[in-house]
């Protein structure tokens, strides 16, 4: 079958230029008054025209492509809802991974709508500004697709009923919340490096791709659909982030050390932010296509390292220590986090459970150096208690890292003692602060006045700012219904509902 020769038209480079380069230099106001945020971070820009958008998106192509994606996406979500697609997931336990994802990520999507709008206004170059405006609208799209998904699952499963309140108040959700707050209170160039580059370019695949594949493996068509549909926008975001970094580095050699420091801060914060994905992948998917270890090997060790090799020509150094730590932790992280979530299940808006024999054998296979040696015995011990009717629930809350706000569950892996808890401490203005790692301690030391303001949920509870001094009072303040949204999957209303579904 032959096709007509492709029609000739105005080439993309020129079309894009004519439709986007519509700005001008201000004449009756001072440039620094019109663009007041450009100098405050010490970044030097000499020529905004050097900013190129490889996708060269104009509004006509934007609407055309986005409309096509949305038509497909909402058709699938409608079909999923009409056909009770939630009945076809592998197991209701899976939905708890979705509860974490949606309550953590949805509010962040909303936060970066204003983040990118602000940055679009702050930047002078049209190429940069237009790409940021498109990203702001993309993030609004993502936020809405996720709210639609929450809305569907909320009809059947607990824990989705007030994602905004729990995002603001719960201890494990303060990890993404503080990440977003940190980025939103940075200047425009740091915002671009933090979200546009570190999160959208380096880390986004580590969050979305394995999780969305996991959703596909477990029958969750709604999540696969919004996830992959959002990811197609992400390719533009990734490109914008990389382009921002290349542009800043090429504009002036003085920018290099500033960007290096931001990259190290935000890659580390981003890695800690995504640590919860490790346990979602390894423990919360009844069918796990990929292990956290495998995802780290592809997305950080292969892709991430390749990226830094590219950036070497600009004077950026690969953060060797960080990569070393990530590699050392990859065989421990998911296990350490899941056992933490297991014991603190009273104070969570999700259910947790013990891994069954199949899952543990999968974990043995994927983690031959660590699972059977350090972690299977822990779960066996918890099972002994559960089998006696004494399922263990901790009555306390973990201390959090002042910077990343992940609980201090980390151990001395690189020192050869993976079963010994370790953390770091600083004194600042007469107060003591705690950190999970040298990475987080370093971040605090560079901006102490920012991080002393961190709102840490367990600390706030003990200061009496969270509804009361008892667990029931705090749960009420969290808008968590005790015995419904929290505790073990076994015995939960979700389980009762699921068994009814499957037997009808």
């Amino acid at each position: 079958m032959s096709v007509e020769p492709r029609k000739k038209r105005l080439n993309k480079k020129d079309a894009y230029k004519y439709m986007t380069r519509l700005g001008w230099d201000p004449t009756y106001q001072k440039e620094e008054d019109v663009y007041p945020y450009l100098k405050m971070e010490g970044i030097k820009v000499h020529d905004w025209e050097a900013w190129e958008d490889p996708f060269r998106m104009t509004m006509d192509s934007y609407w055309k492509l986005q409309a096509e994606k949305d038509k497909k996406l909402y058709s699938i979500i409608d079909a999923f809802a009409q056909n009770n697609g939630q009945k076809n997931i592998t197991d209701a336990r899976y939905v708890n991974a979705l509860k974490i994802f949606l309550t953590a990520v949805t509010p962040l999507e909303h936060k970066v709508v204003s983040g990118f709008t602000n940055v679009a206004r702050a930047f002078k170059g049209e190429g940069a500004s237009i790409a940021c405006q498109m990203q702001a609208i993309d993030e609004l799209r993502h936020y809405q697709t996720q709210v639609h998904t929450i809305s569907h699952y909320n009809k059947y499963f607990d824990g989705f009923h007030d994602y905004r309140t729990i995002h603001d108040r719960l201890w494990y959700l303060s990890v993404p919340k503080s990440f977003g707050d940190d980025a939103s209170t940075a200047g425009p160039f740091e915002f671009m490096v933090s979200i546009g580059f570190a999160f959208e370019f380096v880390l986004t695949s580590l969050l979305f791709v394995p999780f969305m594949s996991g959703a596909a493996y477990n029958g969750d068509m709604a999540t696969v659909t919004f996830g992959f549909s959002a990811q197609s926008d992400e390719s533009r975001h990734m490109t914008l982030g990389l382009q921002a970094v290349k542009f800043i580095l090429e504009q002036d050699a003085d920018n290099v050390p500033i960007v290096q420091e931001w990259m190290e801060k935000w890659l580390w914060r981003g890695y800690r932010l995504l640590s919860i994905v490790s346990m979602m992948m390894d423990y919360m998917l009844p069918n796990s296509p990929t292990s956290w270890k495998e995802a780290v090997e592809l997305y950080i060790e292969q892709n991430g390292v390749a990226l830094f090799k590219d950036l070497e020509k600009y004077g950026i150094k690969m953060p060797e220590d960080m990569i070393k730590t990530i590699r050392a932790e990859k065989e421990h992280l998911s296990h350490q986090l899941w056992k933490t979530f297991y014991v603190h299940s009273t104070a969570e808006a999700i259910h947790t459970w013990l891994p069954d024999e199949n899952k543990m054998n999968w974990l043995s296979e994927k983690y031959p150096n660590t699972f059977d040696k350090y972690y299977r015995p822990v779960f066996d011990e918890y099972k002994k208690h559960a089998d006696k009717g004494e399922r263990y629930y901790s009555e306390t809350l973990p201390c959090l890292c002042q910077t990343c706000q992940v609980p201090l569950v980390f151990t001395d892996i690189e020192g050869g003692k993976p079963n010994v808890f370790t953390h770091y401490q600083n004194e600042y203005n007469g107060e003591r602060f705690h950190f999970c790692s040298p990475g987080c301690q370093d971040i605090f030391e560079k901006q102490p006045e920012k991080f002393v303001q961190a709102w840490l949920p367990p600390h706030q509870i003990f200061q009496g700012n969270c509804g009361g001094a008892t667990i029931p009072e705090v749960l009420k303040w969290y808008k968590i219904e005790h015995g419904v949204d929290n505790m073990d999957y076994v015995g939960s209303p979700d389980e009762v509902m699921w068994n009814k579904f499957k037997n009808n």
Partner: protein, 91 residues
């Protein structure tokens, strides 16, 4: 020293599968792996998606920007022209 591996992940839809086959034609040594709902495409150095090859395979006019409708993720820098969509590392 070997080059870094360029990565392109696309949706495993009808169109995605056809595009993957067009990519296989034009990119010697490409490694294509099927994952749930996704087609993972890897190649040392660069992956070139050629609009003419894809148009031929689909039986209709196809523009490089349409790749966005099936695109999930990339590992590498991007260059999009009127004729090609390229993912590449420069190291």
């Amino acid at each position: 020293m070997s080059k870094s591996i360029a990565l392109l992940c696309i949706q495993a839809t009808d169109e995605g599968r056809t595009i993957a086959e067009a990519i296989r034609e034009d990119n010697e040594g490409v490694v294509i792996t099927n994952k749930p709902a996704m087609i993972q495409i890897e190649r040392e150095g660069r992956i070139v998606v050629n609009a003419e090859t894809v148009s031929e395979a689909l039986g209709r006019d196809w523009e490089p920007e349409e790749l966005q409708l099936v695109l999930i993720s990339t590992g590498g820098q991007i260059d999009e022209t009127d004729d090609e969509f390229i993912v590449y590392w420069n190291n």
